[in-house]
Symmetry: C2
């Protein structure tokens, strides 16, 4: 009998979600950064859940305030990718009975601080005992109904851009990154991207996902990748947890977008890194590392 | 340094939620069966999260379909307690890589089946590896804005009632119970209870919670407890996982309520078990078991 290790996460999700029936109130179900459901006339509701597991996403050596911060920030990043606004959070906490209360208090302090910063209410949650610490955050929020962004509407010919710089997040950024919430809303209003998502698993994994969802392939100009100081192009491509935004924009809008962006966010780069191309075109970026071996260049395979 | 085991769940939650600031869109935060946030003009939004952990809430001997069923049904029961309607669910799945895919497929089959039964969309979720199986379900839904029910508006003099029969859930009902969703909405429309909640941890724990939240004490008529076949009054009082509704109703409405109930739900008992009384009155039900030793009779301590 095959195990989870045999089939991998993406296949598991596809298998489990097969047979799920949705009614007309669901505008976008599983597969995007957030689910989109019908809300009021002008606004849709966004829903998202995300878990942090001890020894997978953090260790007990991680400063507890930063564990809490990261748990919330990851979800805010998903709302940013939709052009939306997070509003209410619920926290499921699983912890061993032997855990010190003070450690958890610090975790919550980290959550409260960043929640306040982004205008998010912590409206409830649940605790249960378990073998290791686990935090599952679920959040609801809003997005203008005419302007929510999926990852699946990219078109061949679109220019691919990323915010910020990539690579080396493991050295600290993965605990302290600033979710691009304001930038996400600004892009949704000013750039009208065809597709947008956040880079959580690394460009090497996430760009193929965007292309696959959009039914295209892609081409990347390696030398254009915006690297964090001390990082190689290889790391910018293969490392995960950048939490920057990845977007596909009509080539005709790019010039004016870059100009307006520089005025709005003078300190944050927005960089063209390649383009979406028709299926069958595109070729793999030329790296020596094995990091990006794990993805398929071709969007449909 | 005190651990979680030292201070217990209720104290932990109180401690962690201290210092949480909420804005005007939150009508009820942590502490009720669901959180209530502002939605449209006529409807509020309900939010709830709930986790099932292997070897705490189920074992790997439990039929996997029933694990999935229970995970969803518990949350539906919380919506029932608010007089609301669940609409969209997200599923966080933590599982060891060695777990068989077929086992999880059966868990999801159980979730899909009951979700369909109650008109709930499974709109997304997340998977992560972990040491044991854990399911965290978060759900959003609606409740008429003028008719949502908290557990905190009970008044001294109110009559306390429960739906169904209590006790012995461990012999099977805890996996197969029918959440009282239709009954909850009916009660909200027809009985206008001052307070309502579902009985998940047992009457012995949950009735004091309702009384505490309402600022009252309570008195129970032991001989009136509706017992499941083969169960003692002691079990009806102390066992958990009944997932029946517990409500406090103005004494003047009770007679007509019971009459209308019998017409609407001829097969399901609705039983008067006691009353809410002013703080300082009330006395503990007279049991020999130790089950109910763990709660404080007095609503404020």
């Amino acid at each position: 009998m095959p195990t989870l290790a045999d089939i991998g996460e993406d296949n598991l999700i596809r298998k489990l979600m097969r047979g799920v029936k949705l009614d007309g109130d669901v505008i976008a179900g599983a597969g995007d950064d957030c689910a989109v459901v019908r809300g009021s006339k002008d606004e849709h509701t966004l829903l998202k859940t995300d878990a942090l597991v001890q020894d997978v996403h953090f260790t007990l050596e991680t400063p507890p305030k930063l564990i809490g911060r990261k748990a919330i920030a990851r979800v805010v990043s998903d709302f940013a990718a939709m052009g939306g606004t997070p509003r209410h959070a619920m926290i499921t906490l699983v912890a061993p009975p032997s855990m010190e209360v003070e450690f958890l208090s610090e975790v919550y302090r980290g959550m409260r601080t960043i929640a306040k910063e982004y205008g998010i209410n912590i409206v409830g949650g649940e605790t249960s005992r378990g073998l290791v610490l686990m935090l599952s955050i679920s959040m609801s929020g809003t997005v203008p109904s005419k302007r929510w962004l999926s990852r699946s509407e990219g078109k061949a010919g679109d220019v691919i851009l990323v915010t910020g710089r990539l690579g080396g997040s493991i050295h600290g950024k993965h605990l302290k990154f600033q979710p691009r919430l304001e930038e996400g809303r600004w892009l949704s209003e000013n750039a009208h991207p065809h597709a947008m998502m956040d880079i959580s698993d690394g460009l090497a994994k996430d760009l193929p996902r965007l292309a696959l969802a959009s039914g295209t392939h892609y081409q990347v100009n390696v030398a254009s990748l915006p690297c964090n100081p001390g990082c190689s192009f290889d790391q910018a491509w293969g490392d995960g947890e950048d939490y920057e935004l990845l977007l596909a924009v009509n080539p005709r809008s790019v010039k004016s977008l870059l100009q307006k962006w520089r005025e709005a966010f003078p300190k944050l780069p927005l960089t063209i890194i390649g383009k979406l191309v028709p299926p069958g075109e595109g070729r793999p970026p030329d790296f020596e590392s094995t990091g990006w071996d794990h993805f398929a260049l071709s969007a449909d395979g």
